[in-house]
């Protein structure tokens, strides 16, 4: 998704010969009895843009803090370039972290905050000034260089924190919600800047975000976490199209989840019986599923078509009444109630003006989708 089709595919995680830059080897982190990180094993490769996604309190910051050197794993090993990091203090690690709380030095100006790390590096004095100016320009804060952190806005502070962590161009950059306080336009611009920096410097990024769209746009791979565990690590498109669990499907984007029992109907084909009086759902899956297994069927709203008449060519079609229409500008979401009371969401692009839309409240419509549009999930 992040890469245009013309570029060679960047997928070192599929290459068994590739050496990961960072390795988490069954890392567990406990605070007292509380398990913040639960037996996590991941490989992150050089030049990746790795996004951590998960609900608040699932351990994203803790994972980063272990990489930066502020927390020690209770069990397991973290390797950078094949070397165990356990005894390397934070100031000797080739990582820089952007803190969720920004942690700007209140007694130093914006300029001095950004220069702070450079002054502690072997960089010659004469090069520090231009580098800081470059960073200021990047985050569009040239005019605020002389101000103290308390004299600028929250979004500007966030950009100072970002610039400060980028300034040293470290091997590994840890960004803890770097763009949360920015407006959409500036956020998108900064996302592209980050991708640009990443391309130019070859820095590896580990980024925490609450914004799935952001993860989808910038990441080479996404890790979805829950309660300190890695639930799924995959490319953004696979996370979206082929979630491995109801949790991931539900966490990323909008989804209809239908509970039912599967029975095989042919090579990789299944029928899911899910409600009295409703036709079975025809679905495809690569997994072998025994007859009568309880499963969840997950389908994204935009994969469901909506029409006045029953389409002849679709594998699945159900009839219902439009209960609600949510107009979101470029798309509209229709909530359709089926005869058995089940609510299904369908999303349609608004390619016509509002006044000329075909359907309105209480219309009876057909919802249809192909047998490969959704996925069968076992957990």
């Amino acid at each position: 998704m992040a890469q245009p089709a013309s570029r060679p595919v960047f997928a070192p995680w599929n290459d068994p010969a590739a050496k990961p830059l960072i390795q988490f080897k069954s890392v567990t982190k406990k605070f007292g009895e509380f398990v913040a990180i639960d037996d996590v094993t991941i490989d992150i490769f050089a030049q990746e843009f790795f996004a951590l996604l998960g609900p608040s309190g699932c351990g994203k910051t803790t994972l980063m803090r272990m990489l930066a050197g502020f927390e020690r794993p209770t069990k397991g090993q973290i390797l950078l370039d094949g070397k165990d990091l356990a005894d390397v203090p934070p100031n000797r690690r080739e990582t820089n972290m952007m803190f969720q709380s920004y942690a700007l030095f209140p007694h130093l100006s914006v300029w001095e905050n950004i220069a702070f790390g450079l002054k502690r590096s072997p960089m010659p004095k004469g090069e520090i000034g231009p580098r800081v100016e470059q960073m200021l320009k990047l985050v569009r804060l040239d005019k605020f260089a002389r101000r103290k952190p308390h004299q600028i806005s929250g979004g500007q502070r966030q950009r100072v924190a970002l610039a400060r962590s980028l300034a040293k161009a470290p091997k590994l950059l840890l960004l803890d919600e770097p763009l949360g306080a920015l407006d959409k336009k500036l956020r998108q611009d900064t996302q592209f800047e980050l991708m640009d920096i990443q391309e130019k410097t070859g820095t590896t990024f580990l980024i925490v975000t609450h914004d799935q769209e952001e993860a989808m746009t910038v990441a080479s791979r996404v890790a979805v976490m829950d309660h300190g565990k890695m639930i799924q690590i995959d490319t953004p498109d696979r996370i979206y199209e082929m979630p491995n669990s109801v949790y991931v499907a539900d966490f990323i984007g909008d989804v209809n989840i239908i509970k039912g029992n599967a029975k095989p109907t042919g090579e990789g084909r299944f029928a899911i019986s899910w409600a009295e009086g409703q036709p079975d759902i025809a679905a495809a899956s690569g997994a072998g599923i025994a007859a009568g297994t309880p499963v969840h069927f997950a389908i994204r709203p935009e994969k469901i078509a909506i029409s006045a008449d029953k389409p002849a060519d679709r594998a699945n079609a159900v009839k219902g009444r439009i209960e609600d229409i949510a107009y979101l500008g470029n798309i509209s979401t229709y909530k359709v109630e089926l005869a058995n009371g089940a609510m299904i969401k369908a999303q349609v692009a608004n390619d016509r003006r509002l006044a000329r839309r075909t359907f309105s409240w209480d219309d009876m419509v057909w919802l249809s989708f192909t047998d490969t549009a959704g996925v069968i999930l076992m957990k």
Partner: protein, 298 residues
């Protein structure tokens, strides 16, 4: 402005006028009078019954003779200078002793902090005078300190600490330590720990992170603590007279002797007025610092 607002603003001013300005004016007036063997021991004495004419003769008899006398006699200047020196040195020693204490307190576990705080304040629960007297018991030639050192064989003859400036320094540092510890602790305690982590992340060692981040951020507490120690130490009287020797020259002691031994109230008052002027300078500086800090926090 409504009545409540006026009342609210008037209250502190009323207190200041009653407890500071009026006594100051009385002292200032006495400093302009002359010594006399009478009760009160100075003249002229203001007599309301003499009316307007009496007031004019009263005013005409006031002059700055005592100030001229003070500037002529170098005992007083030496006393002022020596007070400034003793106050400044004690302040620095107090800072050096207090900073690690405050730092340790701020690093301690949450559940320990109230206890540590209590321990710092605990000495205030007994009389200041008793605590200074007990230092005599510790520092004198037959005191605990010398007993212990002699007993351990570290020294052969008792150390003469009592009745020297060293004893005065010890007394002042001991007495005013909490005034230095508490403001420094207050700034260190509210400091965001992630700042140190950020500094380390950007390449600082523990020590350079302390110099570049912790110390500058605790500056307001250090300044407040220094003033809180320096100002009372400058006018200190009890400690130098109990622990200091004959060569310990402090203006508080001079003041006391003028007042109670010589019974020369006018000169004593002039000494007090000059001391006040000397103190007002650091107090104004202190106020400025507070003001700046408040603005910075907005």
């Amino acid at each position: 402005m409504n009545f409540r607002r006026i009342l609210l603003i008037a209250t502190p001013y009323a207190w200041l006028v009653a407890l500071f300005l009026v006594p100051f004016l009385i002292v200032f007036k006495i400093s302009l009078s002359h010594y006399a063997i009478s009760i009160p021991p100075y003249s002229p004495v203001f007599d309301i019954s003499a009316g307007w004419e009496g007031f004019k003769t009263f005013l005409s008899k006031l002059d700055f003779d005592n100030y001229r006398f003070l500037s002529g006699d170098d005992l007083y200047w030496k006393a002022y200078l020596s007070s400034l020196q003793i106050a400044a040195i004690s302040t620095i020693i107090t800072l050096v002793v207090a900073y690690p204490i405050a730092y340790g307190m701020a690093q301690a576990n949450d559940e320990w902090r109230p206890t540590l705080m209590m321990l710092v304040i605990l000495p205030f629960w007994t009389s200041f005078l008793i605590r200074v007297y007990s230092w005599i018991g510790i520092l004198s030639n037959e005191g605990f300190l010398n007993q212990i050192l002699l007993g351990l064989g570290v020294i052969d003859t008792p150390l003469a600490i009592m009745n020297t400036n060293t004893a005065v320094y010890i007394g002042i540092v001991y007495t005013y330590l909490p005034f230095m510890v508490l403001p420094i602790y207050a700034t260190l305690e509210k400091m965001d720990g992630s700042l140190i982590e950020a500094a380390e992340d950007l390449g600082c060692t523990r020590i350079s992170a302390f110099w570049l981040v912790t110390l500058p951020l605790s500056k307001p507490g250090v300044i407040a603590g220094c003033f809180l120690v320096f100002i009372p130490a400058l006018g200190e009287f009890v400690i130098p007279s109990l622990l200091g020797g004959s060569q310990t020259l402090m203006i508080g002691k001079v003041l006391w002797e003028e007042f109670f031994s010589n019974r020369d109230w006018p000169v004593a008052s002039a000494v007090a007025v000059i001391l006040l002027v000397l103190l007002i300078i650091p107090i104004i500086l202190f106020q400025r610092n507070e003001q700046k800090q408040r603005e910075a926090n907005q």
